[in-house]
């Protein structure tokens, strides 16, 4: 067989020949031991070369995903909320402020009184707030009302939304505006950048605390996103006190759905939960204590989710956060919590991601925390 015909053997090996050619090659192979031997050698070379190790240095894959993540710009898929023009958000933000401010003042006293007992615990455990000195910076007039907005059965400016979440709509409504600011910046809409530009410096400062992995030259939108995430952590207050509140719907939810007019309340709520999810996702504490808080927030979020798929993901995130707490601190109690969380998940009938969680457990077995 000539070199050219031998080339056909290689293609034959790959099943890439047309039927007629294949038949011709097979006929030849049956009669020619030399070519049959050559085909066997090609096959062996393939297998042997494919089996050569391509190994990375020890521990390389432990940190690779986080390194990739640190390079990613937050991106947002096209979704109804984000197609709203920039000015709508600016207007909504202004309205929110106008509505919330009086509400907050009106209810500040009774709410503060009511929540005195849990308050110290909140202060002690709030993860990102603790790590970032800028925590109280807020769109609300006073430090405390951030919790009050969510916790107080405030008579909203409009009827209570029909989709009032049972627990935390985990974020105070007031943070919705900057979140959309980030979304708009993603789309490079200058109006939105201007609308939120004055908030950027404080956020940039918090960026340091929230996203340690982010490179120094992150663009402004990452700083904004990180700022949003620290507010997500701040909203932990809301998440904690919310179960005790009769109505936990953020006062401003109607505003959101108003901005989202063509879509039903359910869509608005799902979108809101998605935002809450994303903001919690952006929280990357550096300490074990921070990760413990994040874990609790994921659990709270999972319990409050109306979308079972997202609830499932939130449960997995709680497990991941537990593992991060253990990795960050090397504490045996954190290891136990991680295992308990993972094993609890694997026992659930509705768990959708058992392979992933089994993988996390196996990984932990193979490589104990530092």
């Amino acid at each position: 067989m000539s070199g050219h015909e031998r080339e056909r053997l290689s293609a034959y090996l790959d099943g890439e020949l047309a039927p007629a050619e294949r038949a011709a090659v097979e006929a030849h192979l049956a009669a020619c031991p030399e070519c049959a031997g050559f085909l066997a050698d090609l096959t062996a070379a393939d297998r042997a070369a494919a089996a050569l190790p391509a190994e990375a240095p020890e521990g390389y894959f432990d940190t690779f995903p986080a390194r990739v993540r640190a390079r990613l710009q937050p991106r947002k898929a096209a979704s109804p909320v984000r197609r709203v023009p920039a000015w709508t958000w600016a207007a909504a933000a202004a309205l929110l402020l106008a509505v919330i401010t009086p509400l907050t003042f009106r209810h500040a006293r009774p709410a503060a009184h009511e929540e005195r007992p849990p308050a110290p615990a909140v202060a002690k455990t709030s993860p990102v707030n603790e790590e970032s000195s800028a925590a109280p910076e807020s769109h609300l007039p006073a430090p405390e009302p951030q919790a009050n907005v969510a916790a107080t059965p405030a008579p909203p400016p409009r009827p209570t939304p029909p989709f009032a979440p049972p627990l935390a709509a985990p974020l105070p409504a007031a943070t919705a505006a900057p979140a959309s600011g980030a979304a708009l910046q993603d789309k490079k809409e200058p109006a939105a950048e201007n609308a939120f530009a004055r908030e950027a410096p404080a956020r940039a400062a918090r960026d340091e605390a929230v996203a340690p992995g982010a490179p120094a030259d992150v663009e402004a939108k990452e700083a904004v996103a990180a700022g949003v995430s620290s507010e997500a952590a701040g909203s932990e207050k809301a998440a904690r006190v919310a179960p005790r509140a009769a109505v936990a719907a953020p006062a401003a939810s109607p505003m959101l759905s108003a901005a989202n007019a063509p879509h039903g309340a359910t869509a608005a709520r799902l979108e809101q939960e998605e935002d809450a999810f994303r903001r919690l996702d952006a929280v990357r504490p550096r300490t074990a204590e921070g990760w413990r808080r994040v874990r609790e927030q994921w659990s709270a979020l999972a319990a409050a989710e109306s979308d079972p798929v997202r609830a499932d993901e939130a449960r997995v995130r709680a497990i991941v956060a537990a593992r991060e707490a253990w990795r960050a601190g090397g504490d045996a109690a954190d290891e136990a919590a991680f295992r308990a969380e993972a094993e609890g998940y694997l026992r659930r009938d509705d768990a959708r991601q058992k392979p992933r969680v089994e993988g996390l457990l196996a990984e932990a077995m193979a490589r104990p925390a530092p």
């Binding site: 070379a45 050569l52 990739v68 993540r69 959708r352």
Partner: protein, 203 residues
């Protein structure tokens, strides 16, 4: 043909479409999990082509960053693995072809030394054969090597390889043949009857 799937090609979890849909919505954590699942495979493709850890690291990271940016264009009903591997292979070849890479002589750098663990190859080849084979792979041009890796390791079709590397299927076929012929020649003393004779002689 008759290949046992490479260990790096473990079946994607049943939850993969879900993770990718989440990632497409902007969920960094979901994408991080996707990265975790595919990192070994992507790094493997990159390392086999560029043959230097630092470069493979760059290529693998860049492949995921680009995939993230292009997720909107990715058809969620299709498997993610071939797609990300195509991106990585393309980046790897471009990197090896770049003038800077040639100056640094990266393509000739050697991959990690084969591990002491015999693994699946141990049954077929001894350490010396592995070294010879590794040298033969290093001796291939980057384009040949890329085609070979995508076929022999990733088991892509000629059309997929052609698309990944921006060449014609006919070029894929000829490069692949030349690569295989060269490797088979290097391995000949360790294969078939020659290997039996050789082993009998040495033991």
């Amino acid at each position: 043909m008759g290949h046992s799937p490479h260990p790096s090609q473990a079946a994607p979890g049943p939850d993969e479409p879900f993770l990718l849909a989440r990632a497409r919505k902007g969920d960094l954590g979901a994408f991080e999990e996707v990265v975790r699942r595919y990192q070994r495979r992507v790094y493997g493709v990159a390392l086999r082509i560029v043959r230097a850890h630092d470069v493979a690291d760059d290529v693998a990271q860049e492949a995921f960053v680009r995939a993230w940016r292009s997720l909107d264009r990715f058809d969620l009903s299709r498997p993610f693995g071939p797609w990300i591997c195509r991106i990585a292979a393309n980046l790897a070849v471009n990197h090896v072809r770049s003038p800077r890479a040639r100056e640094e002589g990266l393509p000739d750098g050697h991959a990690e030394t084969p591990s002491a663990d015999p693994g699946p190859l141990g049954a077929i080849l001894d350490a010396e054969a592995k070294r010879v084979l590794d040298e033969a792979v290093a001796g291939l041009g980057p384009e040949q090597r890329a085609v070979f890796v995508l076929r022999a390791v990733e088991e892509m079709s000629y059309d997929e390889i052609a698309e990944a590397l921006g060449i014609s299927p006919g070029t894929v076929m000829s490069r692949l043949f030349r690569a295989r012929e060269r490797l088979a020649r290097a391995l000949a003393p360790y294969l078939g009857p020659a290997a039996v004779r050789r082993k009998a002689g040495t033991s």
